[in-house]
């Protein structure tokens, strides 16, 4: 039937007829059925969610993601071609069309300079995302902490819908910022809220216009956050806030709030449904906090943070700043097994998935893996009809004996920045499953420095014709020119991730095919990709380092 999780179907030289064969198998609502019988499917994070996802995507307000796929008319043309599969019709996106798709979500932020100087250790960042799901389930956030120093950046990979990733992307940084605030500032803020005065701004967001915040839930979210800082005030330990601890507390607290909000419900039916959707869907999070030379990465799930390091000889290498929480991580498998009775050892991890279902071993939301069966049943039954009708929410994972099986607690890695640390890449697994981190480091490094290591060609004694040489040179030039098409490192990385051929160069034809896949098919060839590339200011880092010495 349908290929399993490796998910990237070989892209045939003529992509058009190939999907045409597959297409009838997986049309729309059929997907859910197929999936539930086959048991896992192309939605790799969590199987059997498609139906759930599809059913509410239809009503999701954010249809604009679909609108991103610009060559909509082309899809129609394609679907037309499918009907007459015997006469396959080729079409390619032109380079400008490709670019408009790739660049639709790109965003750049440059840390402003004062007196011609930027005293921050961060020069700025580029971010971008390319949807494969419709709508995209990835989210990203970036903000500067205004009451403490430092900058927060994060990528969030949702599964079973985008609700949880959306909520986490809106809320997590506030939880972190609040966790970092000193007692006096917390008091000041609380007093301001109490007396209705203007609140000190906590975060300055750096958002792409497509990154939205939910207006309806803001009051609810704010109240939860306020409860959190009130508790912090009460708990005042008098100790200075440790960043690592703050990150862990913020992650756990937010996940806890998501769970509680779903259990309590909301009198407003829209909100009630929303908090349930948030709790029943899930999201991984990979968040970096940069303050001077102190870089903390808190990771929950299988997104990844990677540091780009320039060696003395100018070459690039990659340093991992996070551990994936999935079946490939032995420590993670061990941890899960430790937390549950030995009798469950066999059923805990099956087909590289938690309980045979979930790929990431840590995540926000996903109350199906956290709540007791009774709680789940109670909430679903008392919940709105949409929830009740949903196959997925009613489905209890097999061998579900000793919840919780899942946690949102992050692993935090602290790194002291050095002058050779040039950039940080945060990306969802959509990137990492197509590219090796070493290639990522090289491509971004060369993009940022504008230097491309290509061996010069020498004819030497070989027999080469003008035509052969021309072909070779054109290909080499294409490799370089793809750099100049992009003003954004994340876009450049996506171009490579999607368009790379076996030689590691961007193949326009491939890129064009990958991007022109219809919504229903895109997810079979690629995952949502979200990337943030943070560029460090080596001068400042070097200066800070000297100061500390």
């Amino acid at each position: 039937a349908i290929p399993v999780r490796s998910s990237r179907l070989p892209l045939l030289s003529d992509a058009m007829p190939a999907p045409a064969h597959l297409f009838p198998l997986i049309r729309n609502s059929e997907i859910g059925r197929i999936c539930s019988t086959v048991c896992y499917c192309h939605h790799k994070h969590l199987c059997c969610l498609s139906h759930f996802a599809h059913s509410h995507f239809r009503y999701a307000p954010q249809r604009k993601f679909a609108a991103l796929c610009k060559p909509k008319e082309n899809f129609n043309q394609f679907i037309h071609a499918r009907d007459y599969a015997s006469t396959p019709q080729r079409f390619y996106l032109t380079p400008p069309q490709v670019n408009s798709i790739l660049k639709a979500n790109e965003y750049s932020f440059k840390v402003p300079e004062f007196d011609g100087k930027n005293v921050s250790s961060v020069l700025g960042f580029d971010s971008n995302q390319l949807p494969a799901n419709a709508p995209i389930e990835d989210r990203r956030s970036a903000a500067t902490c205004l009451q403490t120093r430092g900058m927060l950046l994060g990528v969030f990979d949702g599964h079973a819908g985008c609700a949880c990733a959306q909520a986490v992307s809106e809320r997590l940084f506030y939880y972190i910022a609040v966790s970092l605030l000193p007692h006096e500032t917390l008091l000041e803020i609380e007093n301001a809220v109490e007396s209705g005065r203007a609140l000190l701004p906590i975060l300055q967001w750096h958002k792409h216009p497509n990154d939205y915040f939910s207006k309806e839930a803001s009051k609810l979210y704010f109240n939860s956050l306020r409860t959190y800082w009130q508790e912090l005030i009460d708990l005042n330990s008098g100790e200075t806030t440790d960043v690592k601890e703050a990150l862990i507390n913020a992650f756990k607290r937010l996940d806890n709030d998501i769970s509680l909000e779903a259990q309590v419900g909301d009198p407003n039916s829209f909100l009630n449904y929303l908090v349930l959707r948030v709790a029943f869907s899930g999201a991984t999070a990979c968040v970096a906090h940069v303050d001077g030379v102190d870089l903390h990465v808190a990771n929950t799930g299988d997104s990844r943070a990677m540091l780009g390091v320039q060696e003395e000889d100018g070459s690039w290498s990659a340093v991992n700043l996070s551990y994936d929480h999935n079946a490939q991580n032995e420590h993670e498998v061990e941890r899960v097994k430790m937390e549950h009775p030995k009798s469950e050892e066999k059923s805990l991890v099956k087909q590289d998935r938690l309980l045979g279902l979930l790929m990431p071993f840590r995540a926000f939301g996903d109350v199906k893996f956290k709540w007791s069966i009774e709680l789940q049943k109670r909430v679903v039954e008392s919940g709105p009809d949409q929830l009740n009708d949903n196959e997925y929410t009613k489905f209890i994972p097999p061998n579900y004996h000793t919840p919780p099986y899942l946690t949102a607690e992050p692993e935090v890695i602290h790194h002291k920045l050095r002058p050779q640390d040039k950039f940080l890449v945060l990306a969802t697994d959509g990137l990492w499953e197509t590219m090796h981190r070493q290639d990522v480091a090289r491509i971004v490094g060369e993009y940022l420095t504008g230097v491309h290591h290509q061996q010069p060609i020498a004819v030497g004694g070989y027999k080469v014709t003008l035509g052969q040489m021309h072909g070779l040179l054109t290909e080499r030039r294409a490799r370089i020119s793809s750099v100049f098409e992009d003003q954004n490192a994340a876009t450049h990385l996506i171009r490579h991730a999607v368009g790379n051929n076996e030689f590691g160069t961007v193949d326009h034809e491939r890129l064009s095919k990958m991007l022109s896949l219809p919504e229903e098919l895109a997810r079979m060839y690629r995952d949502d990709i979200t990337i943030i590339v943070v560029q460090f200011n080596s001068h400042v880092v070097g200066a800070c380092q000297n100061e500390e010495l």
Binding site: Q454, P456, I457, A458, V459, G460, K463, V464, T465, L466, G467, M469, H470, L472, L473, T474, R476, R477
Partner: protein
């Protein structure tokens, strides 16, 4: 790889042909293997001339000097003869050059090389193949037509052909994207190294001593004169030194204590060699130049040789390097890719042709794409010939000839000011400037050359103190001698085209802007910043200043204090070395204003001709004064309100100079001249007052409708008034008699002056050319190609001369061209005297890119057209109108 290429080049045969030289260098040839071995033949202790550099330039200079009768010449080459750029260059002799002096040099070179084999017995590989320059666009075709029309009047066969004809002339060419081409059938190919060796052989036979493997470390100078050279093999004392060191000319110029600035910089240049085609290319197949594809393609031993001038050149040797590295330069295929694509587009049939080598051969470039020749302004007897902008073979013969004439006769037989070293000063000698500028110059070789092109690199070096103020008001800038000058002011809210799109041979986008500036000059008052003009002060304790100036200048300078005199600074032939305005500040001191690019040349001329008298001082005060030119009928009102001094014509007639206060600033030198023929003043303001005076003028001028104007307006005004400018219309071969300026010559001023005899003779015998103004009759400003300069002039259908400048006259609503009319005998071609009748009795046409426009010739400016009657200088104008 380089070795393989060297072997492929034709053998060095000339030693066998010249037994005498063989004797001299038997050991030097052995020393190839062991350099420590001493030379058997020691250097002479002295010589009249020492030439440094054994490439095409050095050997050509030696050849021509010896032909002109100078025998005591030593040529030194640090490596082997013809081993540098000369060895590696592509060997194309092409006469299709846009600048007329370059065209003449190339034409002479071609004729010289053609008979060189016969003269010397040495094979030069000369092959008359012809060349075809392709046009992919209409604009390119226009530029080719312009060149073709100037080639034709020179007597060089040349025709504009259709793409079909191109295909007939060349078997491999793809013509589908062509709109036309220019065919020059007499262009040729040579083996450049062999040409150089042939010239050396001939020179050697005439007595020139040639020493290889001898490098000049520096030139010895005493009291501003060359006295000898120091080499690694000892000293040679000499009177003349010639720097033909090619890309090392800059370093050599800077090696001595007395530095000579030679602004050249090298860039890498690539060309491709292939194995022969299956059906080897005939040796007579024309050379193809495809400027739009930036490439040239010539036949090479049955295969092809193709190179080009890329958009992103790679400058090298910025820090100066050892010459040996020239052989170890890397091939860079990625860099060559655009040129290879252009080649395969032009000749798709070459796909299967096998590559032999990509040659990296550095070429030397100059800041303005013209070569450099002449005597150093600082060291007498120090001559230079370098910076060929990759046309060394085309120019080699002619350039060597002109330089030899210059040394022997004091000046070449043609006007070489466009190539004169003295057009540059030390300000063009910064390595950073040169590096940036040559990166712009090299691509320009293939770029479309349109009128009024300005270099974009190496700018904002010299600026007026008002630069920022003017820039903020929409000034658009051009550069002259490193100085930023305003072209025109773009009014707020109005946008002009991008630089690239504004390139045109037709009506430019600034037409209306300049028109309104001109209108304001005519009706109200405009201010133009003219600070770039060269300004000298000459003063003495006694009468020395007056006496020496009376000798240097043709007009009578013994005028009352406060008078301004327009006068030429002439050479012995009566030709203009400079055209100046001189104000007598007091009995013993003079203030002299000359064109911007005269700064170095005029200084050198004064230094060479003024007596070395400690009581006589000459000071360059260019940088001390900001000049504001107030042009227009209301200038009087503005100035009088600012100075509280009477400045009406009765009190301040034209051609006077007064020091007065303007606003709060005192000591402003005000002259009642405008360089345009319009009423007005030039204010010479000590620079610290510049901003103040400018602000005062603009504030006060508001009620009189004052506005800023630029040089384009000035040019239109002066050309419609028939004012000649030095450097464009006037040169060292033009006398005041020939341009209607006899009134500026006082033959009977009671003192001898330079050029007096020549002028007297002309006065008696008449002139052989005459500066004439042409008004285009049937020219449509909107639709037709605009004249520029260099357009051939036809009288009754026969070629009589070329235009030197042109502008649209907003007053006449016609184009005005200025140019010289000759009288060539119909049968012999001999030059005859040009009379007023000859001018007046002809029907004239101006040929703009092959299209002829009827023109009305005038010897005197319109006076009735200009409503504002002038004061004294108008009397002068009318004075010579009665002539």
């Amino acid at each position: 790889a380089a070795r393989m290429f060297l072997r492929l080049l034709s053998d060095v045969r000339w030693r066998a042909a010249n037994p005498r030289w063989r004797r001299m260098t038997t050991c030097s040839r052995r020393s190839t293997s062991s350099t420590a071995e001493p030379h058997p033949l020691s250097l002479p202790a002295q010589a009249q001339v020492v030439i440094c550099g054994g490439g095409i330039m050095g050997t050509s200079v030696a050849y021509h000097l010896s032909k002109l009768g100078w025998k005591d010449i030593v040529l030194l080459e640090q490596g082997r003869l013809a081993a540098g750029t000369t060895r590696f260059c592509a060997g194309i002799v092409s006469t299709a050059r846009p600048v007329s002096i370059e065209l003449k040099m190339a034409d002479y070179s071609n004729k010289l090389y053609q008979q060189l084999e016969q003269e010397t017995g040495i094979k030069t590989g000369y092959m008359k193949t012809g060349s075809i320059s392709l046009a992919q666009t209409q604009d390119r075709l226009i530029s080719l037509k312009r060149i073709a029309s100037s080639l034709n009047v020179m007597g060089i066969p040349c025709e504009i052909i259709t793409p079909k004809q191109v295909a007939q002339l060349h078997p491999l060419i793809n013509i589908h994207d062509l709109v036309g081409a220019m065919y020059v059938p007499e262009d040729a190919l040579v083996s450049s190294a062999d040409v150089s060796l042939a010239l050396a052989t001939a020179a050697s036979r005439n007595g020139v001593q040639i020493h290889e493997r001898t490098s000049v470390s520096h030139v010895l100078v005493q009291k501003g004169r060359v006295t000898g050279v120091e080499t690694d093999r000892g000293q040679i004392s000499c009177q003349y030194f010639v720097n033909c060191a090619g890309q090392w000319a800059y370093e050599l110029g800077h090696s001595g204590e007395e530095q000579v600035s030679i602004p050249v910089h090298a860039c890498e240049h690539f060309y491709l060699l292939t194995y022969p085609l299956k059906e080897p290319l005939a040796s007579s197949v024309p050379t193809i130049v495809d400027p739009d594809g930036r490439i040239y393609i010539r036949n090479w031993q049955g295969g092809i040789l193709s190179g080009g001038f890329e958009k992103n050149p790679k400058p090298l040797f910025t820090e100066g390097r050892n010459q040996l590295e020239i052989q170890h330069l890397q091939e860079d295929w990625d860099h060559f890719e655009p040129l290879l694509s252009a080649l395969l587009r032009r000749m798709p049939g070459l796909e299967a042709l096998q590559i032999m080598q990509l040659v990296n051969c550095p070429e030397t470039f100059t800041p303005d794409m013209r070569c450099i020749m002449g005597e150093s302004p600082t060291v007498r007897g120090y001559f230079v010939l370098a910076g060929m902008n990759s046309a060394g073979i085309s120019y080699g013969g002619g350039a060597g000839k002109y330089l030899a004439e210059w040394m022997v006769n004091g000046y070449p037989s043609e006007n070489v000011w466009p190539l004169d070293l003295k057009r540059f000063g030390t300000l063009q000698s910064s390595r950073t400037f040169l590096r940036h500028r040559v990166m712009e110059v090299m691509p320009l070789i293939c770029d479309l050359k349109v009128p009024r092109w300005d270099f974009q690199t190496g700018r904002q070096l010299r600026t007026s103190p008002l630069y920022d103020r003017l820039d903020a008001q929409g000034a658009r800038w051009m550069e002259k001698h490193g100085f930023e000058r305003v072209k025109y002011f773009v009014p707020p809210g109005k946008d002009l085209l991008d630089l690239d799109q504004s390139k045109t041979f037709y009506k430019p986008d600034w037409f209306d802007i300049v028109g309104s500036e001109v209108k304001c000059c005519k009706e109200a008052v405009c201010v133009i910043d003219m600070s770039s003009f060269t300004k000298f002060e000459i003063s003495s304790t006694g009468d020395q200043a007056l006496e020496s100036l009376q000798y240097l200048f043709s007009n009578d300078l013994d005028v009352p204090v406060g008078h301004v005199v327009h006068t030429g600074m002439l050479n012995e032939q009566g030709g203009y070395e400079n055209d100046c305005s001189i104000a007598r500040l007091n009995k013993r001191s003079f203030f002299m204003i000359s064109p911007t690019d005269q700064q170095v040349h005029c200084w050198a001329w004064l230094k060479n001709h003024l007596p070395s008298d400690s009581n006589l001082t000459v000071e360059d005060v260019t940088w001390k004064y900001t000049a504001l030119n107030l042009i227009g009928p209301r200038a009087v009102d503005v100035l009088s309100e600012l100075s509280y001094a009477p400045v009406t014509p009765e009190h301040f007639p034209s051609l006077f100079c007064k020091e007065m206060s303007v606003g709060y600033a005192n000591g402003i030198r005000v002259m009642s001249i405008t360089h345009t023929g319009e009423p007005g003043f030039v204010l010479y303001i000590p620079i610290e007052y510049a901003l103040h005076v400018y602000n005062e003028v603009m504030n006060m001028g508001q009620k009189y409708g004052i506005r800023n104007a630029g040089y384009y307006a000035l040019r239109s005004l002066r050309i419609e008034k028939f004012f000649a400018f030095w450097g464009q219309d006037l040169d060292a071969f033009t006398t005041p008699m020939e341009c209607g300026r006899e009134f500026q010559v006082k033959l009977e001023k009671g003192m001898e002056f330079i050029g007096q005899e020549a002028l007297l003779e002309q006065k008696q015998n008449g002139v052989y050319k005459r500066f004439t103004m042409f008004i285009l009759e049937d020219h449509d400003t909107d639709m037709d190609l605009w004249p520029w300069w260099g357009e051939p002039i036809f009288r009754n259908g026969r070629y009589v001369g070329k235009t030197t400048s042109s502008a649209y006259s907003y007053t006449l609503e016609r184009h005005v061209c200025l140019g010289f009319v000759h009288h060539f005998d119909e049968k012999t071609g001999e030059e005859l005297v040009v009379t007023t009748d000859f001018i007046n009795q002809g029907d004239y046409e101006i040929n703009i890119a092959g299209q002829r426009f009827q023109a009305k010739a005038k010897l005197y400016p319109f006076s009735s057209l200009f409503t504002h009657r002038r004061r004294k200088d108008e009397m002068e104008l009318s004075g010579y109108q009665r002539e």
